[in-house]
Symmetry: C2
Subunit: 151 residues, 2 copies
DNA sequence: AATTTACATTTGTATATACAACTATAAATT
DNA sequence: AATTTATAGTTGTATATACAAATGTAAATT
């Protein structure tokens, strides 16, 4: 459905404004859909993101800054996200022996299992939307988004 | 910058996943940028959205449902958003005389003035990003996003 | 007319987010 | 060695969001 219909806009809309609204609305659709997937596992999207980053470390511990810079939302409070994951025993946290300002965060076996259970659902989620586009259009969409936000 | 560089991803990424991350990240960039514009006026993006919907009513009052269905984030709590705007005297709210379940929300003169002051900045914001694309690409991006999220 | 159902909005509560201020430690400078 | 500056992470606080439950009222049904 076109964005004007979704927002029941009565006046014609500039294409530049349409992109903004399309991006924001598409993000909402994706996120709501993804939250449904995460709900049974009682983790938020941001927490999932942290777990995925930690798995990507392949056994190497990550400090808070490493996690932060790999997150989508750069404003998120990594300390508190890790706190929540600790409570659920999905990660461990300890002070780095060489530099006591640094923290070493690692994903636990339980955390890896949650991710493993989620993996097929996440892939299905990703393909659920992109199935509407052929592979050329998928490439194009990625390129246009990357070009669009260049500042 | 490509999304893999931004998120410092070490492994190659599926194009379907890349779209998701590109949309989410682009939304973050747009929103952060827009929040900077709104900051001096002390209204949030959602509050701005409500004001714009009310101005679009062209003098006709809107009830809560009308506002809700025109919002980008369908989960937002319109009652409380209107509460905040009331406190700032940017809108008025009264009970509809015919149907007392309905509420009539109207933008005030002060609300219209805030929007008028914001208008040029909002247009500049919209064009700030889309300047990176030519008009054909802008069309294409809108069409791809609309096609992408079709369920 | 009384009851039920549907609708419109508000409230409660838990959690998340934004952003500034703070603490602790390491490294650099004097 | 003492002081300053930079870095790494945490905490406080206000606001926002998500979602369920509650309230109040109109319309429909019995």
């Amino acid at each position: 459905m076109k964005i004007e219909e979704i927002l029941k806009s009565t006046v014609p809309m500039d294409n530049s404004k349409k992109i903004i609204l399309n991006v924001l609305y598409t993000q909402n659709v994706i996120t709501e859909n993804f939250n449904e997937i995460l709900k049974p596992y009682e983790i938020s999207g941001e927490q999932y993101n942290v777990l995925r980053i930690l798995r990507g470390q392949k056994g190497n511990p990550a400090n808070m800054w490493t996690i932060q810079e790999r997150m989508l939302a750069k404003t998120s409070n990594t300390t508190r996200l890790v706190d929540k994951l600790l409570l659920k025993e999905l990660v461990t946290r300890k002070v780095c022996p060489e530099n006591r300002r640094k923290i070493e965060v690692l994903i636990t076996q339980k955390g890896l299992e949650v991710l493993a259970a989620l993996d097929p659902k996440v892939i299905a989620h990703e393909q659920f939307f992109s199935k509407n586009l052929n592979s050329q259009e998928i490439d194009q969409l990625n390129q246009l988004l990357e070009k669009y936000r260049n500042q």
